[in-house]
């Protein structure tokens, strides 16, 4: 097993309710390797098994067959070792905690002192431009602001692997693009590896160093496309290279779905 891989998946399979009439094979024969500091987007048809893959990587469910290692350990060990920062499609904030106390949550579980976690949570909220909203409750924040709190929370303990499941799916186009730029900024400033699930081709291209295209169920990685944009600023979206990569991903996705 190569030591320089953050994530290594070989022959992964996941069947829900195996042996029963409602058995569903969501993932079959899936291979994927991710190096440190990569930003890998996973794109694929709806219901193909993207969230399932993320939950397998996160050690929240067990694979039916195959190998999966995170930093050279099993997903369970990595979960118990708190290697992961997870961001779900819904922000998943605790309604009864203020923004800052939501960000503090993982630090609390890791036994940080009150002073230290306050300080870190403040820094993280500032990083996502919410410094002024520390004592607001989720109900007092917009959807985009809640999602930013959720990202700050996932980043607060500097996980080695950030797992994001369509985190910007519920946002409007403008907020979405703004959040993408923010996420890239954070990714550059921290030493995090990101696995990012999305339905949006331009989003995948703009963010990623590599796009993995999944096949319909039972899912495997059907194609991997390296993305090599010279820079990633809001202007990048209007460049020729960007359009070229977007249409490449689109054609790949279409051919995969057509199989």
């Amino acid at each position: 097993m190569a030591q320089d891989l953050v994530l290594e998946i070989a022959g992964l399979e996941k069947t829900f309710n195996p042996g029963r009439s409602n058995a569903v094979t969501a993932i079959s024969d899936l291979y994927l390797a991710v190096r440190p500091r990569e930003f890998v987007s996973i794109i694929g048809p709806s219901g193909c098994g993207k969230s399932t893959l993320l939950r397998l990587v996160g050690g929240l469910i067990e694979p039916t067959a195959g190998e999966l290692s995170v930093n050279g350990r099993s997903a369970q060990e990595a979960r118990l070792g708190r290697d992961y920062g997870m961001v779900f499609q819904a922000a998943g904030l605790l309604d009864w905690r203020t923004a800052i106390r939501n960000v503090e949550l993982p630090l609390e579980l890791m036994g940080w002192s009150k002073l230290r976690r306050r300080k870190r949570a403040k820094e993280m909220l500032e990083l996502v431009d919410l410094g002024g909203f520390a004592s607001h409750y989720p109900a007092e924040l917009s959807g985009g602001m809640q999602q930013r709190v959720s990202i700050a929370r996932a980043l607060s303990f500097e996980p080695s692997l950030l797992l994001m499941d369509e985190p910007f799916g519920a946002l409007d186009e403008m907020t979405r693009e703004y959040m993408q730029t923010e996420l890239l900024k954070i990714w550059r400033e921290t030493a995090t590896t990101v696995i990012f699930i999305t339905h949006s081709i331009p989003e995948a291209v703009f963010l990623s160093t590599r796009v993995a295209v999944m096949s319909p169920r039972p899912a495997r990685i059907a194609a991997e496309l390296p993305i090599d944009l010279p820079e990633r600023t809001p202007q990048t979206r209007d460049t020729e290279e960007f359009f070229r990569d977007v249409s490449l991903v689109r054609r790949t996705l279409r051919s995969v779905e057509g199989q």
């Binding site: 050690g59 929240l60 998943g92 309604d95």
Partner: protein
């Protein structure tokens, strides 16, 4: 803000006063035989004349209400925690709780009187506890279990233990459910305690004042005891409300305004 919330008292107060006035006026105008329904003023006078007797009875009945309420609430909340935490407990305790709830518990009062002694407060307390238990149990259990799957998975991704998830996610999530039940059972406990006293037992209770005086057509005195019971019920309701405000604090206000 404070002023506005104070203003919320105004409509029910005006309505209540109006209803009492109308009650007084109609009886004064029609003047039925007089003993069917006493006028508010007659009840007030009866209350004044029997104030020490009603006060002593309120203390006796109030003790049953408070202790039964406390017992039922604690048992209900603890049972809910155990049931959600341990699946086997769920499979045995929940059907048991449903079975208890299906029993017309107040109808058991004479039996409890036989078992636990008619003059002992134990039988009255037992009925109140049983009656209070179920709504608290069911509501709290629902609040503990109706938690966002993603919040649970998030906690698991932080390697949080089941007890930690209970403390950090499930219990805070259940608080509004619990307090809804608390307000409900505050009134239920008053009704239960007084009705149980109709079946006999000590003389110096609100229930007994009502039955004895109704028997001798002293309806105004019976009503005075009913008023005392209402006051206890209203006081308990607001006490529950205050505890809820203290427990959920600024969060409740923030969500109510959003």
């Amino acid at each position: 803000m404070k002023f506005l919330r104070g203003g919320a008292w105004l409509p029910p107060t005006v309505f209540g006063a109006g209803a009492l006035g109308l009650w007084e006026l109609v009886l004064w105008l029609t003047d039925p035989e007089g003993f069917v329904l006493p006028r508010p003023s007659e009840i007030a006078i009866a209350l004044g004349e029997n104030v020490s007797e009603v006060w002593m009875a309120s203390r006796v009945t109030g003790f049953i209400i408070l202790s039964g309420l406390a017992g039922g609430v604690v048992l209900g909340a603890v049972a809910a925690l155990v049931v959600i935490r341990f699946r086997t407990a769920n499979e045995t305790l929940t059907p048991l709780a449903v079975a208890i709830n299906a029993i017309p518990i107040i109808a058991l009062a004479p039996l409890f009187n036989n078992w636990l002694g008619i003059t002992s407060p134990r039988s009255n307390q037992a009925v109140v506890v049983l009656l209070v238990f179920f709504p608290v149990f069911i509501n709290t259990a629902r609040g503990l279990s109706e938690v966002d799957d993603e919040q649970i998975e998030l906690m698991q991704s932080y390697a949080a233990s089941d007890w930690r998830i209970m403390r950090t996610v499930r219990i805070p999530n259940a608080l509004p459910f619990f307090f809804t039940a608390l307000r409900l059972v505050a009134s239920l406990a008053v009704i239960a305690a007084i009705v149980v006293e109709y079946f006999g037992g000590r003389q110096d209770t609100l229930g007994n004042i009502i039955t004895q005086n109704a028997q001798f057509t002293r309806y105004d005195v019976a009503w005075a005891a009913v008023v005392a019971g209402s006051i206890i019920g209203i006081a308990l309701y607001f006490a529950a409300l205050i505890v809820e405000r203290l427990a959920t604090g600024r969060y409740a206000r923030a969500t109510a305004e959003a």
